[in-house]
């Protein structure tokens, strides 16, 4: 056998493994310069603070005396603006989506939580997002929870992942005869 033959042989890798490893599911995250954002934000805030404190002390009245000069309001406005900007930068960073399902879950089969519990919902929870399709899950069922060993047929259909990555959902189950079952029917079946 040559390495070329072996490479061709690997074309027979199982569908589910190919789908799970689809690089399209792994968003390569740009190395966002959080450090730069934080450093820049931090330095700006520190400078503004120093400036403000300095001005305040400079213009503050001597003990017992009356204030000779009032703090210009523009300084306070600048400070407030700068602080707000820093916060919004951080928020923007945190909003960068993490579409890549957590690796620890990604391979556990698409229909169950990592601890093996079954989740069947009538509709997608808010924040759930699409992760792939066509993953035959019967093996996951058998390997994750032996209670479902007697279940035959493949769970197929679009798969969705909850926002926190803890659960995935399948919209349909198609039984051996090609009939599509609803969530309620599925739940009843599993009960």
């Amino acid at each position: 056998m040559t390495s070329e033959q072996l490479l061709d042989l690997l074309a027979y890798l199982p569908d589910d493994a190919i789908l799970r490893a689809d690089p399209g599911h792994f968003r390569i995250r740009k190395k966002t310069n959080l450090r730069k954002i934080l450093t820049f934000g931090g330095l700006t805030a520190a400078l503004v603070l120093c400036f403000t404190v300095g001005l305040t002390r400079f213009f503050s009245p001597a003990p017992g005396g009356s204030p000779s000069v009032q703090l210009p309001p523009v300084v306070a406005t600048d400070t407030q603006t700068a602080t707000t900007d820093t916060n919004s930068s951080t928020e923007n960073y945190e909003e960068i989506p993490s579409a890549c399902p957590p690796p620890h879950f990604h391979y556990q089969g698409a229909l169950y939580s990592p601890n093996g519990s079954l989740t069947v919902l009538e509709e997608l929870p808010e924040g759930a997002y699409y992760i792939g399709e066509g993953v035959p899950a019967i093996e996951c069922i058998i390997s994750v929870n032996h209670c479902y060993e007697d279940f035959c047929g493949n769970l197929k259909g679009p798969l969705y992942l909850s926002e926190d990555g803890a659960f995935a959902y399948c919209l349909y189950k198609i039984d051996e005869n090609g009939n599509t079952l609803s969530y309620q029917q599925l739940q009843k079946h599993f009960e």
């Binding site: 056998m1 040559t2 490479l7 690997l10 074309a11 789908l19 391979y107 599509t180």
Partner: protein, 185 residues
């Protein structure tokens, strides 16, 4: 299987040319990413994609893909590899790197494809993958099915290239062990 896939396969069976259009819309990007990952050339990738659509048209029917996405992916991969082999002699490519990595598995035994059926090969590979950790399994598929380079895989999983290399090395050894045990090497 996507619930739309039976409909799409039905279009092929009814010889409806919209099947190609729908395939392009739904799976074009997937096929492109596979082909480009192997060929690293826009022109070759486009030709490979077109060949794949033609191959699909010719193969369905009689074929009834259980999972259309991977069926299409396999066709694209095979065509891209063929195309790459034709130009491989000229220069060192990503394929030749993969070949070198697989060289340590090679023996003088006959090709498994010659001695066993497709079902047996699938079963063997399924058993092999089942023995790997989930992350290593993904490393392996991304490296030897999608032919992604190690740096890209490391970036996808947010780990070091060295981690990926070590995991792949162990996976290759595991595959070698299985192939040896089964008498293919």
């Amino acid at each position: 299987m996507n619930t739309d896939e039976p409909i799409l396969v039905g279009l092929y069976f009814s010889r409806d040319e919209n099947a190609i259009t729908v395939t392009k819309e739904k799976y074009g990007a997937y096929g492109h990413s596979i082909a480009y990952g192997i060929l690293e050339n826009v022109h070759d990738t486009a030709e490979c994609e077109n060949d794949a659509y033609y191959r699909l048209w010719c193969s369905i029917p009689p074929a009834v893909p259980q999972c259309f996405r991977t069926y299409f992916g396999r066709i694209v991969r095979a065509l891209a590899l063929d195309r790459l082999r034709k130009r491989q002699a000229r220069k060192r490519s990503s394929l030749s790197e993969v070949m070198m990595e697989l060289d340590d598995l090679i023996g003088t035994a006959p090709s498994p494809e010659q001695t066993v059926g497709e079902a047996e090969i699938r079963e063997l590979l399924r058993r092999f993958l089942g023995a790997l950790s989930p992350q290593t399994r993904d490393f392996f598929v991304q490296r030897y099915w999608y032919l992604k380079d190690v740096a890209t895989i490391a970036e996808m999983h947010r780990c070091s290239e060295e981690n990926v290399r070590v995991a792949l090395y162990r996976a290759r050894n595991a595959l070698k062990k299985i192939l040896t045990e089964e008498g293919y090497l």
